[in-house]
Symmetry: C2
Subunit: 483 residues, 2 copies
C-alpha cells in the first residue's frame, strides 16, 4: 500500500471509531532509550485527527501518589471513540524500577500479573490494545547517544537517564523479553520495532494501527487472576469461610433495650472517632462498601458511622445510574474515580458489587460481564489493600417478613414515602435469585483483608451496633499492624 | 420552631433539592480561629442526608497549584441537587494571606473583586450561596485557647496557627469586616455567628440553610467586572482596537504560490517548535482558542500548529454538546476542567465563545445568560493571564462565496462528506446575525493580553501561515518578558 493510501485509510478508520463510539484504542510504546519514541508518536499523531487522540507521558502528581497505583492509568483510559497513545505507560515504571532494583523479582512478576489483569479487563470492556517494543542493539545505541551528545541542536533531547539505561542495555533487553512474554495476548499483542528499520517505522505503526482499527476486536471473557508473590504485611494471611445469607438467621431473640442501645452506641462511636482520627494521622485510606437488601437499613448504618466522623474526612458515594461520561469508559472507572486519598474515608452506599447483584439478577449486564466481574472485583480490592487501604464490606440482611413490614410502614409515612420505589417491590419478586447471587458473591469475593460481614438487621439497634463494631474492628486490626 | 420540626423541614427541603436537581447550594464558614467551625459542620451534616452533601477543607494538590488559582474552587462546586459545605473556602486564603502580609492591600482588594465575580457567576448559574462569619472576641478566644491547651483530650485540636491568629485578632477582625462588606450580596449574604451563642448556633445555621433552600433564589443578571489594582507584569498595558468582521476583507489579491508556502510553513513551524519547547521549560501554560465560520479551516489551522509540537505537550479539545456531568454544573466548568497544567498547551476547537455566538444566534441560551457571558469571559481570561498563561484567540473568517464553494466541494468528496452537516447549511441562513454577534464579541472581549486575531481564510495557504504567525508572535511576546 502506498503511504498516501495508508494514511487516508487510517484516517477513515479513525473517524469510524470516533463516529461509532463503541471502542477505544490504546497504543503503547516502550523499550530501550533513545529509540525516538517521542518522534514516532509525533509523526503518527500528524496522520491522525488529533481532536480524537491524546498522548500520555507520565509524571505522577500528588493526587496520583495518594491513591492506589493503578489510579493514574485508569484515569487516563481514553473514552470510547478515542485513541490514547502512551509512552511507556504502565510498562516503563515496571521495567526501569526492576532494572534499577527498586522492584524485587517477585514484585516485578506481580506487576506483570497486574498488567495482564488490567489489560484483559480493558479489552473485555471494549478497549483495544496495541503495544510496541522499541528495539536497538547496544553498539547502535552507543553511536546514537554519542551523535546526539555531539550535536548542539539536539543535545537537549538527551536526559540524565539515557546513559544509565545504555549501561543497562543487556538487563533492559532481558527484562523486556520477560515482560513481553508475560503480557502478550490476542487482545493486547506486542510488536517489535527495530531501530535499524527507522525510515519504515512510521508506515509500520500506521499499518498496525489501521489493522487494529478494522479488525474485529478480541474480547477476553476471563480476567486472569493475580496471585501475588509479595503480600503486603498489613494483609492478614487467611480469610475465614465466607458467610451465607441462606444459612443465616436474620431474626434475633429479643430486641435490644433502648437505654442499652444508647449507651453502647455512644461507646462505639467514641471508639470510631478515635480510630478514624488515627487513620487520618497515619494517612491510611479507608473504603467501606455497604450492600444489602432493600430496607435493611444501609442509610441508617452509614449515618451512625458518619455521626462519629469529622465531615472533612469522609464522603458518602451513592452508586446509582452511571453518567454518560462513565458510560464512555470501562465499567470499573466509576468506582476508581471515587477512591479516597490517603487518610480519607469513602463510604459506598451500594458499590462495585451491583454488577453481580442487581445487574446480574435483573439482566442489566450480559452474563459474560458479570461472570468476569468476580475476578475484576477481587483484583480491584487486592490493589486497594496493596496500597495500604482498609477495606470493609458490609452486607445488611433482613428477613422477608421484616422487609414487608418496613415497606408498608414507609408507604404509610409521608416523609419516608420517597424511600420506597416500584423497584423495591420488583426486587422482592426476585428474592430467591438474589439469595443465590448474594451467596455466590460472598463465596467468590471473600479474601484476606477483604472479608465480608453479614449483618442481621431485623433488629435495627443491634444492626447499627454491629455495623459500628465491624468498622471499628477493621480499623483496629489495621492500626495494630506496625505499618 | 422546635428543633425536631426544624430538622424534619430542613431534611425535607434538602431532599426536594436533590429531587429537582435545579440548584446547588454552597454553605461557607470562615472567621476567627477556634470558633468550632469543624464541630458545627459535623453537627449540621448529621442533620442532613449526607449522600447529597460534601465538605471541603482545602489543601491544594500539585495539580491545583499548576492551574489558575480559581481552578481549585471550580472543581469543587457541587452538582445541582447537592450541598457543598466549605470551611474557609475562597475566603480563608485571602484573609490569612493578607493578615500575614503575603498579599498586598491591592492584591487583597483584587481578590475580593474576584470573589464577587465568582459568586455572582455561580448564583446566576443556579448555585445558591450562604456565608457565615464565625465571631469571637479576643478575651474569649484567649480563654478558649488556654482551656483547650490544658485539656489533654482535646489539645490535639489546636494547631500551630491558632495562637498566631489569636495574636492577630484585631487585624483579622478588621479584614473580616472589609471582606464581608465587599462581598455581601442578595445572592450571597453573610451572617455573623457569635461564639457566645454557641448552644444556639446549630439551630441558627439549620434555620438559615432551611430558609435558603425554600426561598426563591436571587439570581444576578450582571456579573461584576474585576478591575485589578495589581496587574501582572506579563500583561501588556493596552490592547489595540478590536477587529471587525464586517469591515474586514477576507479575500486576497492573489493566492500564495505553493513553493513559497512550503518554505514559509517550514520556517514558521520551526520557530513554533522552539517557542513551544521554551514554554515547557519555563512551565508557562498556553491556551489557544479557535473560533471561525464553518469551513474557514479551523481544523487545518490547528493541524499546522500541532504538526510543530511535541504530542506529549498539547491536547486538542473539541467543544461540542456538554455531557450530563457538565450540565449538572455551571456553564464555565466545561472550559475550566480543560485548562492545561503549567508548561502544557491546550488548543480549543471552538471554545467558551460559543455562548455569545451559536448559543446566542440560535437561541440556545437565554438572553440574560449570553449577555452576562461577556463579563464572565473577560474575567475567565483575566484569570488565565494572571496565572501567567499565554492566551491566543483566533477567529478564522471566509467570504460567503468561498464558504459556498467549500461546502459544495465537501459534498462532492466522499472522504470529506462527514465534515458537512445540516447545521452548517442552517448556520449560513443566519449569516447576518452571526456577523453582528461576532463583531460584538470582538468589541466586548478585546483586552490586554487577550486580543483577537481576525484571520482572512479565503486563501488557505495564507490563512495557515497567518495562524502560525499569530501563535508564534504571542509566544514570543511572552518569552520576551523576563517572568
Amino acid at each position: 500500500m502506498k503511504t498516501a493510501i495508508l494514511r487516508a485509510r487510517l484516517l477513515e478508520a479513525q473517524l469510524d471509531l470516533a463516529r461509532c463510539q463503541e471502542r477505544a484504542v490504546i497504543l503503547l510504546l516502550t523499550g530501550h532509550a533513545v529509540t525516538h519514541k517521542g518522534r514516532l508518536v509525533n509523526e503518527l499523531n500528524h496522520w491522525l485527527e488529533n481532536r480524537h487522540t491524546e498522548v500520555h507521558a507520565l509524571a505522577p502528581s500528588s493526587e496520583e501518589r495518594e491513591r492506589p497505583y493503578w489510579w493514574r492509568f485508569w484515569r487516563r483510559v481514553p473514552d470510547r471513540g478515542r485513541i490514547g497513545i502512551f509512552i511507556h505507560g504502565w510498562y516503563g515504571d515496571a521495567l526501569f524500577a526492576r532494572a534499577e532494583r527498586r522492584l524485587s523479582p517477585g514484585a516485578f512478576r506481580d506487576r506483570l500479573a497486574e498488567i495482564r489483569a488490567f489489560e484483559a479487563e480493558l479489552a473485555a470492556e471494549g478497549v483495544v490494545l496495541l503495544k510496541l517494543w522499541m528495539d536497538i542493539d547496544r553498539p547502535a545505541q552507543r553511536r546514537h547517544l554519542q551523535a546526539l551528545q555531539a550535536d548542539p541542536v539536539r543535545a537537549w533531547q538527551l536526559n540524565d537517564t539515557d546513559w544509565q539505561r545504555h549501561l543497562q542495555h543487556a538487563v533492559i533487553d532481558a527484562l523486556g523479553r520477560e515482560m513481553r512474554e508475560a503480557t502478550a495476548a490476542d487482545h493486547a499483542p506486542w510488536h517489535r520495532l527495530d531501530f535499524r528499520d527507522r525510515p519504515a517505522q512510521l508506515r509500520r505503526v500506521g499499518a498496525l494501527l489501521h489493522e487494529t482499527l478494522v479488525a474485529p476486536p478480541a474480547r477476553p471473557t476471563v480476567v486472569p487472576e493475580v496471585v501475588p508473590a509479595v503480600v503486603p504485611e498489613v494483609v492478614p494471611g487467611e480469610a475465614p469461610a465466607p458467610p451465607s445469607i441462606r444459612r443465616a438467621e436474620p431474626r434475633v431473640a429479643a430486641p435490644l433495650k433502648k437505654s442499652d442501645y444508647a449507651e453502647r452506641l455512644v461507646e462505639a462511636q467514641g471508639r470510631l472517632a478515635i480510630n478514624a482520627r488515627e487513620m487520618a494521622r497515619r494517612r491510611i485510606p479507608v473504603v467501606l462498601a455497604f450492600e444489602g437488601l432493600d430496607a435493611a437499613g444501609k442509610g441508617g448504618g452509614i449515618h451512625r458511622i458518619t455521626e462519629a466522623l469529622d465531615a472533612r474526612q469522609y464522603r458518602v458515594h451513592r452508586i446509582a445510574a452511571p453518567s454518560d461520561e462513565e458510560l464512555a469508559l470501562p465499567w470499573a472507572w466509576r468506582f476508581w474515580r471515587r477512591l479516597p486519598a490517603d487518610g480519607r474515608i469513602a463510604l459506598f452506599d451500594r458499590s462495585w458489587y451491583g454488577r453481580v447483584l442487581v445487574e446480574r439478577v435483573e439482566g442489566l449486564a450480559p452474563e459474560a460481564a458479570w461472570r468476569r466481574a468476580y475476578a475484576e472485583i477481587r483484583e480491584f480490592e487486592r490493589q486497594l489493600l496493596a496500597h495500604g487501604a482498609v477495606l470493609g464490606k458490609l452486607f445488611l440482611a433482613i428477613s422477608q417478613e421484616e422487609q414487608l413490614r418496613r415497606f408498608e410502614a414507609r408507604a404509610a409515612t409521608p416523609h419516608k414515602r420517597h424511600k420506597l420505589t416500584d423497584e423495591d417491590w420488583r426486587n422482592r419478586e426476585h428474592w430467591e435469585d438474589y439469595q443465590r447471587a448474594i451467596d455466590e458473591m460472598f463465596a467468590r469475593t471473600q479474601a484476606p483483608g477483604a472479608e465480608w460481614a453479614l449483618i442481621a438487621c431485623d433488629d435495627k439497634r443491634r444492626a447499627r451496633l454491629a455495623v459500628l463494631e465491624q468498622v471499628n474492628r477493621r480499623l483496629e486490626m489495621r492500626l495494630a499492624s506496625p505499618h
